[in-house]
């Protein structure tokens, strides 16, 4: 199901289109649809999320139907079909991380940012959500931030404070 709340008209840069073409070349002749997931990642990296217009343009680039892109983008959890905070904190909420305090960390982040899961802070800087096992269970609690998906491991309340102020600082410096 694709519930569209907001659209964003995009114009892929020549550079981005060149990366798309390079990705397509990894797959056999006629199998360009294989490039869909990696291309959607590049689109999200560029715009922060994947709008309907972006999906339509990816479809025409790959010579496939728009619905083939919508059904994929809505199936996988990594693609955002609406804008998120500039920094989207993805905290693992699966069993092994909960054994070492993940639920406490999620509650702490919710209180600290003052927004519920999936919502964006007023300044547009932060959002957060729970995600499933991030393959870092021995180093939990753990969170990741896209588009680089850097891991922050063995989280404590202090580490969360530090991370959030570092990210704020980073924005101020740019």
């Amino acid at each position: 199901m694709l519930s569209v709340k907001e659209n964003l008209i995009v114009n892929f840069s020549a550079e981005l289109l060149k990366s798309f073409t390079e990705i397509v070349s990894r797959y056999p002749e006629g199998k360009q649809k294989s490039a869909l997931l990696p291309i959607l990642h590049l689109v999200q990296e560029e715009y922060g999320w994947v709008s309907t217009d972006a999906m339509d343009k990816v479809a025409s680039f790959l010579s496939i139907q728009p619905v083939e892109v919508y059904e994929v983008a809505s199936f996988y959890t990594m693609y955002f079909l609406e804008p998120r905070g500039k920094y989207n904190l993805e905290v693992c909420r699966t069993g092994p991380c909960c054994l070492v305090g993940a639920e406490r960390i999620m509650k702490y982040i919710e209180d600290k940012l003052g927004v519920k899961e999936g919502e964006v802070t007023e300044d547009g800087l932060f959002s957060w959500r729970g995600v499933e096992c991030s393959a870092a269970c021995g180093y939990g609690p753990v969170l990741q931030i896209g588009p680089e998906y850097t891991y922050y491991e063995n989280l404590t309340e202090e580490k969360v404070d530090q991370l959030i102020s570092e990210l704020k600082q980073k924005v101020q410096n740019t």
């Binding site: 294989s34 997931l37 994929v72 990594m78 699966t94 069993g95 092994p96 499933e132 393959a135 021995g138």
Partner: protein, 451 residues
């Protein structure tokens, strides 16, 4: 010290680079295979090694390779499964982060044995750092003439590409992975046909786990017979175990198969015992899908033998009193953990990850989640335990892919071994909100080993 084959040089600075990896003997297996062995010779060594798939099912790798159809003029593919999303499992990420060339070297040798011209590594999308690392390693190998056209003058051409997933546990299932690699939703395919006959783009395909492929390197270097000498019985070689939960030293360990579970948990060479001086309550030995066992049954089998880290010993007693090796995701629960809450969490995970194609899985996981939520939150009735049991039994074996079983087994095992904890939750709804059931008769039967 136990013998290591995959992580021997893990602590060498710069081992992630081609230069240092080669100084430590890296890419010898590629030279040996491409210069002095035929593809069938390589296959023969892998068969002799007794290597079993490290992705979860434990199917013999050599046998899987020998099933690959080889029609004239049709492309074949090797796809490495680096989707690693089974809760409790983080060994492949570790290997790819620290020794990426071990995977690339294994990919080259395996691709040569299978006769593929293009091979893919499907990495879960959240592992962006690892994707960058692998792309870097591939570029280095290509520069050194270890990939591309006419590798080391052997006449063999190979390209390897990294493909990111989009965030979906189900894409670890091999046919869902192939759908995903074709740019589609990760809906598992009905088997047969098996990928060995009709896989990626309808062509014969082998899907293997990261660790399985990396293990081909020592097998070619030292010979399949040498590899088979390590381990115990049909559990040959070494295995990466990712250990998490309430352990003093969680992390990734390479063990010789056959190591006693007790030694793995308590010795300082491995996990160093339970964190904060607490006692062990239960263990999930092979990733969230395998049956949970109380402390007494993970340390000893029902016949009183010491339980070993091997495919056979972990499975000893069947599901009545045993479990499975799975992916090697070892999760330890201390005395303060709540089995009901964990079972609810795992079931929520499977409901979230079900692709929705089959009704028993799609509806059953949601139904189980609701009942477990009610039990955990003191809103259930005594019949709910039997209802839960019925639902899981009706999922098992009735679905297109094994995710259905994977969702059913943890629930069945939790009820089988911890029924009184479920009953306690139902009979003491108020108390269960503020306190945990604790150890009861599952108490750790063994004193911790002397320091």
């Amino acid at each position: 010290m136990a013998r290591k084959l995959l992580l021997t040089h893990i602590d060498v600075p710069g081992i992630n680079t081609l230069e240092v990896y080669r100084q430590k003997g890296g890419y010898r297996a590629v030279e040996k295979a491409l210069k002095s062995m035929s593809p069938d010779d390589v296959l023969e060594e892998v068969k002799k090694s007794g290597l079993r798939g490290r992705g979860g099912a434990g199917f013999p790798t050599g046998m899987k390779w020998s099933f690959l159809a080889k029609p004239e003029g049709v492309a074949r593919y090797l796809v490495c499964n680096a989707d690693e999303s089974e809760p409790g499992t983080f060994k492949d990420r570790y290997l790819m982060t620290h020794i990426p060339h071990a995977l690339i070297e294994g990919m080259i040798v395996s691709s040569y044995a299978l006769g593929t011209a293009t091979s893919y590594i499907y990495v879960r999308g959240e592992m962006m750092p690892q994707i960058r690392i692998l792309e870097q390693a591939i570029a280095e190998a290509k520069n050194a003439g270890l990939l591309g056209k006419n590798i080391l003058g052997s006449g063999y051409d190979l390209e390897i590409f990294v493909h990111p997933g989009g965030g979906a546990y189900i894409c670890g299932e091999e046919t869902a992975l192939l759908e995903s690699l074709e740019g589609k939703r990760g809906n598992p395919r009905i088997k047969p046909p098996f990928p060995a006959v009709s896989g990626l783009y309808g062509c014969p395909t082998v899907v293997n786990n990261v660790e399985s492929i990396a293990s081909v390197v020592p097998i070619i270097n030292d010979g399949g017979d040498e590899y088979a000498k390590i381990g115990i019985g049909r559990s040959t070689g070494t295995k990466l175990i990712s250990a998490g939960g309430n352990l003093r030293k969680p992390g990734v360990y390479e063990i010789e198969l056959g190591l006693p579970v007790e030694e793995f948990i308590y010795s300082d060479e491995y996990c160093g015992g339970i964190a904060d001086g607490k006692r062990l309550k239960a263990v999930v030995a092979g990733g969230s899908s395998v049956p949970i066992l109380p402390a007494n049954l993970i340390l000893k089998t029902s016949t009183g033998e010491s339980r070993l880290m091997s495919y056979e010993s972990l499975a000893e007693g069947g599901f009545e009193t045993g479990t499975m090796m799975g992916s090697g995701g070892f999760i330890a629960f201390d005395e303060d953990q709540c089995i009901v809450r964990n079972t609810y969490n795992f079931t929520r995970f499977y409901r979230h990850e079900s692709c929705g194609q089959c009704s028993p899985c799609r509806e059953g996981t949601g139904w189980m989640e609701k009942i477990l939520y009610n039990i955990e939150h003191g809103q259930a009735s005594p019949q709910d335990i039997d209802l839960l049991w019925d639902i899981q039994r009706n999922i098992e074996g009735n679905t297109i892919c094994p995710l259905g079983d994977a969702a059913a087994w943890p629930v069945a095992a939790a009820i089988r071994h911890f029924r009184d904890e479920f009953e306690w939750h139902i009979n003491n709804p108020q108390e269960a909100q503020t306190k945990n059931f604790g150890l009861a008769h599952y108490a750790d039967p063994l004193a911790p080993l002397a320091e």
